[in-house]
């Protein structure tokens, strides 16, 4: 019985962690959906957003600083569009990717200059003691994070299906030229996509900040988003959630059950092993459209 409880706890821990990965991956999905660009700067944006929230909190309180950060991220979106996308419009995907790498470098430097390099704590006032279901322990923090992730995903799915901008985004992702012919303003839509990605970065940054503190290494969490994207389908919002849970669960269970036999440390590669398996057998992921980029 003990082992079963242990397995379930491992599973729930993993799933909740996975949902946190999904939060970050959502930002990537958004920008990819809008412009077919992999935004390497998403991690830096998450860090920047988290630092801004924490930095403003003593002055404006949590709600106030969240709102202010939204404004900041919108400004950042406009800036990004102007210095990364507009000049590089028409260039190859790889070049634009490198552009986002450059942008990430700028953001990281700027974030640390403005807010300093001191690690900050970000505390959402959620009690620390876990909930007890019989022998099972479930963390309240994780539940909250899961709820937030769920809300965001729901909102985004609704956005893409039901709003004009959402439809415009999907149109652009499908065929940028045709979309422009129909009258969709590419740059405006891109700016909106980046702004949304910024909002997601705030949510992800706050949730992760609550979990691991706000500091530089946060931008590395973003890399975990890649396997999530592959497994879920790089352009599917719903897929991101499911994939995140799969990645998290695989990590935790892998660590717990395989790791003990080979000396541990499996957690970090599990995500990529699962992603590789998907790439071999189902590259479009769980929910992605299978027309994209298959040979």
């Amino acid at each position: 019985m003990g082992d079963l409880i242990y397995a379930i706890e491992l599973l729930t821990t993993g799933v909740f962690t996975g949902l946190m990965y999904s939060m970050v991956a959502l930002g990537f999905v958004l920008i990819f959906k809008a412009s077919s660009v992999f935004n390497y700067a998403q991690g830096a944006m998450t860090l920047f957003a988290a630092l801004t929230v924490v930095g403003l909190m003593p002055h404006l309180g949590l709600a106030g600083s969240l709102l202010a950060t939204v404004a900041v991220m919108c400004v950042m979106a406009v800036v990004a569009e102007r210095i990364v996308f507009r000049p590089l419009m028409g260039a190859s995907q790889l070049t634009i990717f490198m552009g986002t790498v450059g942008f990430a470098s700028i953001l990281e430097g700027a974030a640390q200059i403005v807010w300093g390099t001191k690690p900050q704590g970000l505390k959402l006032d959620i009690p620390v003691e876990p909930l007890k279901f019989g022998e099972l322990l479930v963390s309240r923090q994780d539940l909250f994070a899961a709820a937030v992730a769920g809300v965001f995903v729901g909102a985004l799915v609704w956005f893409f299906r039901n709003t004009r901008t959402g439809l415009a985004l999907r149109a652009i992702a499908d065929d940028p030229a045709a979309a422009q012919v129909v009258g969709i303003k590419l740059r405006r839509v891109w700016a909106i996509a980046w702004a949304l990605a910024g909002a997601i970065a705030i949510a992800a940054g706050v949730l992760w900040g609550n979990r691991i503190g706000v500091h530089f290494a946060m931008s590395l969490i973003a890399l975990k988003a890649l396997p999530v994207l592959i497994i879920g389908g790089i352009d599917s919002v719903a897929g991101v959630i499911v994939a995140g849970m799969i990645v998290g669960a695989a990590e935790a269970l892998g660590e717990g059950f395989i790791g003990t036999y080979i000396g541990g440390g499996v957690q970090d590669v599990m995500a990529y092993i699962v992603a590789l398996l998907f790439l071999m057998f189902r590259p479009s992921g769980l929910f992605g459209q299978s027309t994209i980029l298959r040979v």
């Binding site: 552009g99 890399l223 590789l276 790439l279 980029l293 040979v295």
Partner: protein, 353 residues
């Protein structure tokens, strides 16, 4: 998108008779001569901290250019391949006494083998998906190197290289090591240049630009894709071996993290995809720039005066300046520095001719 497909004719008789050496040739000659006499002219610092790593990374970048620039297969695993070469070389030499040239080959060969394995998904997927597959390879390879005990790392996760010696030649001085690096790089670059200008190179470019048409015409996608990965990994592996023998003198897994793969990718994107020159120009840009910025900041600090806040700010400002410059060059010439050079060289030729 490609630059540097066919070689420029090396010498054309000018209208007035005689041989007109294009700017390209002159520049190449000058660089070769300078490189050959570098140890006599330049200080230790320049050799050890600038030239040697630039040559080594240039070699790795050239390898990556073959698979990503010429063949169009995006690979994020170049650093991991370097790591394989580094560890293989240091173990071959340190533990089994394999002579250095052979140890370098071992490193390259093992790396090439792994490169082929990593490249197999390219038969079914491409673009971003292939990129993620190579990314997975990057993580998994590094993880294996770190965790598997036979690498001998045990509780010290770094392998130090014993004193470097080829036959009776003791590579003690920086000049010695520089010459080893230079000769290996020269050799492999010549070989690679021939490769990319040959039928194989053209097949790669056909794959990149018109892959379906290419396969219809009978070009075996399988063979050429795997060959591209093989060569890229081989070059990376040899570069890794050079790192342990001629540069850091140790094989340490943390020097080959994802960050480095992205750096090398950055080198060829900025330097020029599908260009031999571009690989090296890109290496110079990516490696030299932070140092130049750091020097500039140092001068700035002495002007402003010692203040710790400034120090941290200036250090971070390096990141900003770097990012800005990357963006600037990308915008200015999306086809890379090699194209910029080409434009300059043709302009100069026109002026002279």
């Amino acid at each position: 998108m490609a630059s540097g497909s066919a070689p420029e004719s090396l010498a054309q008789p000018a209208q007035r008779g005689g041989v007109f050496l294009s700017t390209n040739v002159i520049a190449l000659g000058a660089i070769l001569i300078l490189a050959a006499v570098a140890p006599a002219v330049l200080s230790e610092y320049w050799l050890k901290a600038i030239l040697i790593p630039t040559l080594i990374f240039g070699l790795a970048a050239f390898g990556l250019n073959m698979v990503t620039g010429y063949a169009g297969l995006i690979s994020m695993g170049q650093a991991a391949f370097m790591a394989v070469g580094a560890f293989a070389a240091v173990i071959a030499y340190g533990r089994f006494g394999v002579p250095i040239p052979l140890a370098l080959l071992c490193g390259g060969a093992l790396s090439a083998l792994i490169g082929v394995i990593v490249g197999t998904p390219s038969l079914r997927i491409k673009g971003l998906y292939l990129m993620v597959a190579t990314l997975a390879a990057q993580f998994i390879i590094i993880w294996i190197l770190q965790r598997v005990p036979w690498t001998g790392t045990g509780s010290f996760a770094t392998l130090n290289t014993p004193p470097v010696r080829i036959a009776s030649w003791n590579l003690d001085t920086t000049a010695d090591r520089y010459y080893l690096v230079f000769s290996v790089v020269l050799l492999l670059t010549l070989f690679g240049y021939n490769l990319v200008t040959s039928r194989i190179g053209r097949a790669w470019m056909a794959l990149r630009d018109h892959d379906i048409a290419a396969s219809v015409m009978g070009i075996s996608m399988l063979r050429y894709k795997l060959l591209a990965f093989l060569m890229a990994a081989f070059y990376a592996g040899v570069a890794g071996g050079l790192v342990v023998f001629c540069w850091t003198g140790a094989a340490s897994v943390q020097e080959y993290e994802l960050e480095i793969s992205i750096e090398i990718l950055g080198m060829i994107i900025i330097g020029g995809l599908g260009s031999v020159l571009g690989s090296y120009l890109g290496a110079v840009f990516i490696l030299l720039l932070p140092i130049l910025i750091s020097f500039a900041m140092q001068q700035l600090t002495t002007l402003i005066g010692h203040s710790n806040v400034s120090a941290a700010v200036l250090a971070n400002a390096e990141h900003i300046v770097f990012g800005v410059l990357v963006l600037y060059f990308l915008v200015k010439e999306p086809h890379g520095l090699a194209r910029l050079w080409k434009r300059f060289a043709s302009w100069l030729d026109a002026k002279r001719g």
